[in-house]
């Protein structure tokens, strides 16, 4: 099956300016040589500690940040080079759900406007049936149509996140980036919102990139999982394989941090020492080597490439035979 979305050698550096001439003195290497594909109808998890570049990947795909280099092909179109006006039309097909439900809604817009304008912008439906569409969307995300004329501050975090989901789905996108959509919510509400996304995925025929900072959240909803660390991909595997037979030491460390391991899952407890290094001066060779319990001298020499080690399973570690 061909990929709906193909990312190749994506790189995003944020320049750091300084000095009296305001010249670029250094770069934050937020995303480095990231390549992966997402197949139609698939939900792919993107996992890694905070600061590993997940948000930047998601935003660069939608051109909310401009990539430093690399290509993103969506359904045959190279979107990073698309002229602004063409991109504007294309945006209907790719949407995003944000992490912070309190920051993702304009405090001065009623829900009717939040969703309604997405429809008018992309000329979806006739002016008469837009009201019905808004009602239907609200119901699909589990909100009452009575909420239409309320402002964001009248809602709870979970409700706001549902509104954000409705806004993203209003234009009937093919592909959605969900950037830690439940991280900011109460634990009691997280499962509801994940289940909602799982339902909507079927109803809207969605392909999704689901970002999370730990593996516990993605297990339920993802078909495949990409593990990222300090701007680079460490491992890609089908969700089942990743949980039962993680290859990369970083994945193993993340998994051993998941609170309730499944019965029968036997894993050495790997505890990461220290903090994630600065992306301004990432370690040479394998970026994970400074915290890796298995690191050897060679790890500093070359950046390991993603090697196929099984069906749909790739890992970037020189210790992998």
């Amino acid at each position: 099956m061909t990929a709906l979305l193909q990312v190749k050698d994506l790189k995003k550096y944020f320049p750091i300016r300084g000095g009296i001439l305001n010249r670029v003195v250094n770069n934050v290497q937020a995303v480095n040589d990231v390549s992966f594909g997402v197949r139609e109808g698939e939900v792919v998890g993107l996992v890694g500690e905070s600061g590993s570049g997940k948000t930047t990947v998601g935003r660069t795909l939608l051109r909310l940040e401009e990539a430093t280099s690399g290509t993103v092909t969506f359904d045959g179109t190279d979107i990073l080079t698309l002229p602004k006006e063409d991109m504007r039309k294309f945006r209907k097909r790719m949407q995003i759900i944000f992490q912070d439900p309190y920051a993702s809604l304009n405090p001065r817009e009623k829900i009717r406007t939040v969703i309604g304008h997405a429809l008018t912008q992309h000329q979806i439906g006739t002016p008469e049936d837009r009201e019905d569409r808004i009602v239907r969307l609200l119901e699909q995300v589990g909100l009452s149509a009575d909420y239409m004329d309320r402002f964001p501050h009248e809602f709870s975090g979970g409700q706001r996140q549902r509104i954000g989901i409705a806004r993203a789905l209003a234009v009937d996108p093919d592909f959605v980036v969900a950037d830690e959509p439940v991280s900011a919510l109460d634990v009691s509400i997280q499962a509801q919102v994940i289940n909602l996304l799982d339902d909507l995925r079927g109803q809207f025929n969605l392909t999704m990139l689901f970002i999370a900072h730990d593996l516990a959240v993605v297990e339920h909803i993802c078909d495949r999982v990409i593990v990222m660390y300090l701007g680079r991909i460490m491992e890609i595997a089908p969700a089942g394989t990743l949980y039962s037979a993680p290859n990369h030491p970083y994945t193993q460390a993340l998994l051993s941090a998941v609170p309730i391991p499944k019965p029968g899952r036997k894993l050495a407890r790997v505890v990461l020492k220290g903090d994630i290094p600065s992306p301004i001066n990432p370690p040479s060779g394998c970026v994970f080597r400074t915290r890796c319990p298995l690191a050897v001298a060679d790890c500093a020499a070359v950046v390991p490439v993603l090697k196929q080690i099984g069906s749909d399973h790739f890992s970037a570690c020189i210790l992998t035979a």
Partner: protein, 287 residues
């Protein structure tokens, strides 16, 4: 004893009113004072007992008394009537000379912050240039070039005042444009105009209004100072600065010519300061 009084206050039926009063004393006093001043200036034509420009050479330099509550000046003009008419002019100048810089500064600051890059650099260099001069020095310099008068004063105060607003708005826009709701708007392909007017400006405007409320006091004081120096409003129009200027030669024989217009300036300044601080407090609580 005091405690008992406080207790009975907080439990009484009026306790809510009392709490509002305690919290917003400045706002209420300022608004009332300014309201009275505004109303009397609007109805100056009805309230004032005399024509503010009418000379009466038989009644010059009269001290305050019933027929002339604020006395008369060296031409026999009624000072009370002149103070009232001047209020209308000074308040209008103050309002417009804050409105124009606010609009210019907000527009340029928002464009600089939103588009960034070369646009930002150019606009901010102009802002730097304009804010390099002390306020009054620039105002007087511009009036010196354009010649004294009301129109020159509008232009001078606008050119000298806008850069503060531009700085303020740009800084706010830089923060808000990174907000996720603005990213969401961009992800939906909204046009710059909508993002600017619906998503960014409404969320950056509050601090500029707070600043404008304090700025208006400074502007009114500048207006009267300039007119006092003969650079702004020109005689024979009734304006507080002019009246003080005309009265300064008679300060020993007719104290009311200088003192009473001066008192009007103090009252307006006080009212606007109280109101400005009160509104700032209110908006900050809301935000």
């Amino acid at each position: 004893m005091t405690e008992a009084v406080a207790l009975s206050l907080s439990n009484g039926p009026d306790s809510r009113k009392a709490a509002v009063w305690r919290k917003h004393t400045g706002l209420i006093v300022g608004a009332t004072l300014l309201g009275v001043i505004l109303l009397s200036s609007l109805f100056a034509g009805f309230i004032s007992p005399h024509d503010p420009l009418q000379h009466d050479l038989r009644n010059t330099l009269q001290p305050p008394r019933w027929a002339h509550p604020f006395g008369t000046d060296n031409f026999g003009r009624d000072i009370f009537s002149r103070v009232l008419h001047a209020a209308k002019l000074d308040l209008m100048i103050g309002f417009l000379c804050v409105l124009f810089p606010w609009m210019l500064g907000t527009a340029l600051g928002a464009i600089a912050g939103y588009f960034g890059g070369a646009v930002d650099t150019v606009i901010m260099r102009v802002v730097d240039t304009f804010s390099a001069f002390p306020f009054l020095v620039m105002v007087i310099g511009i009036i010196a070039i354009l010649g004294p008068g009301l129109m020159s004063m509008y232009i001078a105060l606008t050119l000298a005042g806008w850069s503060m607003y531009a700085r303020l708005v740009r800084a706010e826009v830089l923060v808000v444009k990174k907000a996720e709701y603005v990213l969401a708007a961009r992800a939906l392909g909204y046009l710059h105009g909508r993002i600017m007017f619906r998503h960014i400006l409404p969320n950056v405007i509050t601090p500029t209004i707070i600043f404008a409320m304090t700025d208006i006091v400074l502007v009114i004081l500048s207006t009267t100072s300039l007119s006092f120096l003969g650079l702004g409003v020109q005689p024979p129009m009734a304006e507080w600065g002019i009246m003080i200027s005309e009265g300064k030669g008679f300060i020993l024989t007719a104290w009311w010519m200088v003192t009473l217009p001066g008192l009007a300036i103090v009252l307006v300044g006080l009212a606007l300061s109280l109101l400005g601080d009160g509104i700032a407090k209110l908006l900050r609580e809301r935000a």
